[in-house]
C-alpha cells in the first residue's frame, strides 16, 4: 500500500513536471510525421493486410522513444537540479519513484496510437479495422506495463553509463527491427528470431496487429503473458539495480555527480 502511495506521488510529480516542460511530449508532434512515412509506404505498396502495421508502428515507436527519453534524463535531471541527495537520503525507494514517473510518460506516449489512427483515417482516408477491441485494449495495457518495466531497467543502466547518448541512440532502430515494430519478426532472417523474442515488442506488436486485423492465433493469451512476463522481469531487474546503485552511492558518498 505504501509502495502504491509512493508510485502515485511520483506520478503526480511527473505530471506537474511534464505540464511545465512540454519538451517531454515532443513525440506527440513528430509521431504524425512518422505515421505519414509509414502509411505512405503501406498505401503505395498495396500489399493487402499491412495497413495495421503502418498504423501501429508510430504508436510503438512513440512509446519507446518517450520511455527512452525519460529513462535517460530522469536521474540526470535529479542530479542537475540538486534533488538527488535528498532523494537518496529519504526512506522512499528511488526505484518506485522512477517507476511512478515513467508511468506518466507511458500514458502520454500511448496517445501516439490515437494520433496514428487519426492520420490514417483523416489523411489517407483509410478504413482501419479493429476486429477484437477487447484483446486490443488488454494488449495496449500489457504493452504499456512492459514499456514501463523496460524503461525502469534502462533508467538504472543509464545511471551507470558514461556514454548515455550513445546508448540512447543505439537503442532505437535496431530495436524497431528486432521488435518487429512494422515488419513482423517472422519475416526476418531465422537467426535473428531468438534475439527478437527476448524483446517484449516482438510479442506485443504481433498481438496488437492480430487484435486489429482479427488474425489472432488461439495461443494469443500466451503472447500477452510473454509481454507482461518480459516487462515484469525488466521491472524487477531495474528495481534491484537501482536499489543497488543507490546503496553503493550511500556507502561511497558519491551521490550528486558520481
Amino acid at each position: 500500500m505504501n509502495a502504491l502511495r509512493v508510485i502515485a506521488a511520483a506520478f503526480r510529480l511527473q505530471l506537474a513536471i511534464t505540464r511545465r516542460s512540454p519538451g517531454h511530449l515532443m513525440i506527440l508532434l513528430t509521431s504524425p510525421l512518422f505515421s505519414v512515412i509509414f502509411l505512405s509506404l503501406v498505401v503505395s505498396g498495396q500489399r493487402s493486410g499491412t495497413l495495421v502495421n503502418g498504423v501501429l508502428a508510430p504508436g510503438l515507436i512513440g512509446l519507446w522513444l518517450m520511455s527512452l527519453d525519460l529513462a535517460a534524463s530522469i536521474i540526470e535531471e535529479e542530479r542537475w537540479a540538486g534533488r538527488m541527495e535528498l532523494l537518496v537520503a529519504s526512506l522512499t525507494p528511488v526505484s518506485l519513484v522512477v517507476f511512478g514517473r515513467i508511468g506518466v510518460v507511458i500514458l502520454a506516449g500511448a496517445l501516439t496510437f490515437f494520433e496514428s489512427w487519426l492520420v490514417a483515417v483523416v489523411g489517407f482516408g483509410a478504413d482501419v479495422p479493429l476486429e477484437r477491441p477487447g484483446v486490443f485494449v488488454v494488449a495496449i495495457l500489457a504493452t504499456c506495463f512492459a514499456m514501463a518495466g523496460t524503461a525502469t531497467l534502462l533508467a538504472a543502466v543509464f545511471i551507470k553509463s558514461r556514454a548515455l547518448h550513445v546508448f540512447q541512440n543505439a537503442l532505437t532502430y535496431p530495436f524497431y527491427i528486432l521488435g518487429g515494430v512494422l515488419v513482423p519478426v517472422a519475416l526476418l532472417p531465422g537467426w535473428l528470431e531468438p534475439l527478437s523474442r527476448v524483446i517484449f515488442l516482438s510479442w506485443s506488436a504481433d498481438l496488437l496487429r492480430g487484435s486489429m486485423s482479427g488474425n489472432l492465433p488461439d495461443a494469443w493469451p500466451a503472447w500477452i503473458a510473454m509481454t507482461i512476463g518480459l516487462g515484469a522481469a525488466a521491472l524487477v531487474a531495474g528495481f534491484l539495480l537501482i536499489n543497488r546503485i543507490i546503496d553503493q552511492s550511500r556507502e561511497t558518498a558519491h551521490v550528486g555527480h558520481s
Binding site: G23, M26, F34, V36, L41, S44, G45, N169, T172
Partner: protein, 276 residues
Amino acid sequence: MNSPSSLGTSSPGTGWLRLGHQSLLFSIAEMRTVHTWRTWLFGWVARLLTQVTFFALIGKFVANDATMQFVLVGNIVALSCLESMIVVLTMAGERRLGTLPLLAIAPTSHVPVYLGRGLHWLASGIASSVIGWLVLPPLLGVPLPWPEALPAVAMILLVAVSCYCYGCFLAGLAVRYRSLQVIVLNLGYLPIMAFCGVNVPISFWPAWLQPVLHLFPLTNGLQAIRAVLAGGTWSEVWPKLALEALVGIGWFALATVSINRVVTKGRADGSLEFGS
C-alpha cells in the same frame, strides 16, 4: 590562430576564407571531443545504417525488391541530410555558450562563424551516406547499377550542402528560441523524410503539394540521383542538380539574413546576451 585584428584588416574575401579555415579546424576539434573513429564508425554510422535498413525492409515487406531499392536509395541519401541538419543544435549550442555578444563587437562578422558551426556534421553526413551507398545495397540483396552509381556520390555531396544551408536557416530559429532547438530540428527534417521523395515518389502526394516540395532541399537532388541510376542522360539530370543548388543558395541567403537579424535585433533591444 589568427588574431581578430588580422581577420578584421583583411579583405572581405580573405577574411571569410580565414574564417572558413578556422571553422574547419574548430569543427575537427569538436568532432574529436564527440567521437573517436571507432565510436563514430561502430556506434554512430552503424546506428544510421540500421535506420536505413529498417526503412528498406519495410519497402520489401509492403511491395518488392524494386521498392526496397527505391526506399534504400532515398534513405541513404537522406542520411547526409539528417546529419547536415545537426547544425541546428550546434548553432543553438554556440548561442548558449554566450559567444554571440563577443562576436558582435569583434571586427569580423559573426555570420560565417555561426554558419560554419556544423561543418563537421556536414562531413560526417556525406561520409555516412557514402558508406551506406557502398555497403548496404549489396548487403541487402539489391545491388546498385555500376558505374551509374559512381557519379551519384558527387550528387550526394551537393544534396548534403543544400540540406546544410536549409539547416542553417532553421538554426536561425533555434538560436532565437533555444528551448525549441530539438523540435525545430525534428520538424525540419521529418517532413523531408515524409514528403520529399525519400520513401515514395513525390507523385504520390496531391498535385497542389508537389511544386512546394521542389522548394525543399533533397527533393531535386534525389530525383537527379534516381535519374542517373536509371541510366538517364545528362540533359535530364543537370536541370535537377541546378535546381538543387539553387534551392540550397536560396536557403543559405535566408539563413544569412536570419542569423544577421538576431544580432541586429539584439543590439536594438538589448536581448543579445540573454534573449531567447
